[in-house]
């Protein structure tokens, strides 16, 4: 794989992969490590001739999700609810963003995952379904329920 391809892959997805993992785990250090692993896996896969990737973004988020699952398995424990990661500075009028992050941490992991794959990953229902191994209808229903739950939690 050419350097440019690896650099492009990194430029296109690193920020969102990191944010997704940080909100899923609630830990910056873990998000750092897992993000790096995601891209090393991706480059290795491309080097070994994984073939044409149909949906690059869906593919890279799938890698992130699998690594997250592996991590949980290694830890031999259910993932803890993701607490909001402490932020040193929040822009004026951005309190809702932090409240949302806190509310996300209180959601069941599967709901949080689908919500973040949609809102941070920008994946379609089909891509989320492929990533999570469920149906698009189930993604639709889960997203809708999660939004209603967040709406109630945040009173928006």
């Amino acid at each position: 794989m050419a350097d440019i391809a690896a650099a492009d892959l990194f430029a296109r997805h690193y920020r969102d992969i990191y944010r997704f993992l940080a909100r899923m785990t609630g830990r910056r250090d873990l998000a750092d490590d897992l993000s790096q692993e995601v891209f090393l896996h991706a480059v290795r896969a491309l080097d070994s001739g994984v073939g044409a990737v149909r949906h690059e973004r869906g593919w890279i988020f799938s890698i992130a999700r699998h690594l997250l699952t592996d991590h949980h398995r290694r830890e031999q424990r259910r993932p803890v609810a993701a607490p909001p990661v402490a932020e040193s500075a929040v822009g004026a009028g951005q309190e809702l963003a932090l409240e949302l992050a806190d509310a996300l941490g209180r959601l069941p992991e599967a709901d949080r995952e689908v919500f973040l794959l949609k809102e941070m990953g920008g994946l379609s229902y089909e891509q989320i379904a492929e990533t999570c191994g469920c149906t698009a209808e189930s993604v639709h229903a889960r997203l809708y329920r999660t939004r209603l739950a967040l709406r109630a939690m945040l009173s928006v």
Binding site: M1, A2, D3, A6, A7, F10, Y14, R15, Y18, R19, A22, R23, R28, A31, D32, S35, Q36, F39, L40, V43, R44, D47, S48, V85, E87, A89, V90, G91, Q94, L96, A97, L98, E99, L100, A101, L116, K118, E119, M120, S124, Y125, H140, A141, L143, Y144, R147, L148, L150, R151, L154, V156
Partner: protein, 143 residues
């Protein structure tokens, strides 16, 4: 039509998924539908405004690691090339060794030529003076 269907339709429409337009129209015609839409839009905006960002130094290190892996000598493609070169070198060494051994142990196909080449005398020098002997003067028979 239940409120849940209306809200689910708004949720899907917000996500750019295909929805029943007549249901969506009805949902948005209701005040509750519009409120739900506003809430969902707000949630999306709040997610986008999430201040969590990767540390730039960590990101740079990760990027460097990634590029080093694709560029360094230990990149899989480079390792494959290096392995091929090493294999060819080993094969060439065996072939040359076999050739050399065969040449050292087998007799020369034309030994006479080799001997003649080795023992060939150099050309005689050209004469520089002439000596003449006269019979009866310079020597005598029977003496």
């Amino acid at each position: 039509m239940t409120e849940a269907v209306l809200e689910a339709t708004i949720s899907a429409a917000l996500d750019g998924e295909r929805v029943d337009l007549s249901v969506l129209r009805r949902a948005l015609a209701q005040e509750n539908g519009r409120t739900v839409l506003a809430s969902f839009v707000l949630l999306r905006a709040a997610t986008a405004a999430d201040p969590i960002e990767a540390d730039e130094r960590v990101a740079a290190r990760t990027r460097a690691t990634l590029l080093r892996r694709t560029r360094g000598w230990f990149a899989p493609r480079h390792l494959a090339v290096a392995a091929s070169v090493a294999a060819m070198a080993v094969a060439a060494s065996f072939w040359l060794g076999a050739q050399w051994q065969r040449a050292a142990t087998s007799p020369s196909p034309t030994p006479g030529v080799a001997v003649a080449e080795a023992t060939r005398a150099p050309q005689p020098p050209s004469p520089t003076r002439m000596l003449q002997f006269q019979p009866g003067v310079d020597w005598r028979d029977g003496v």
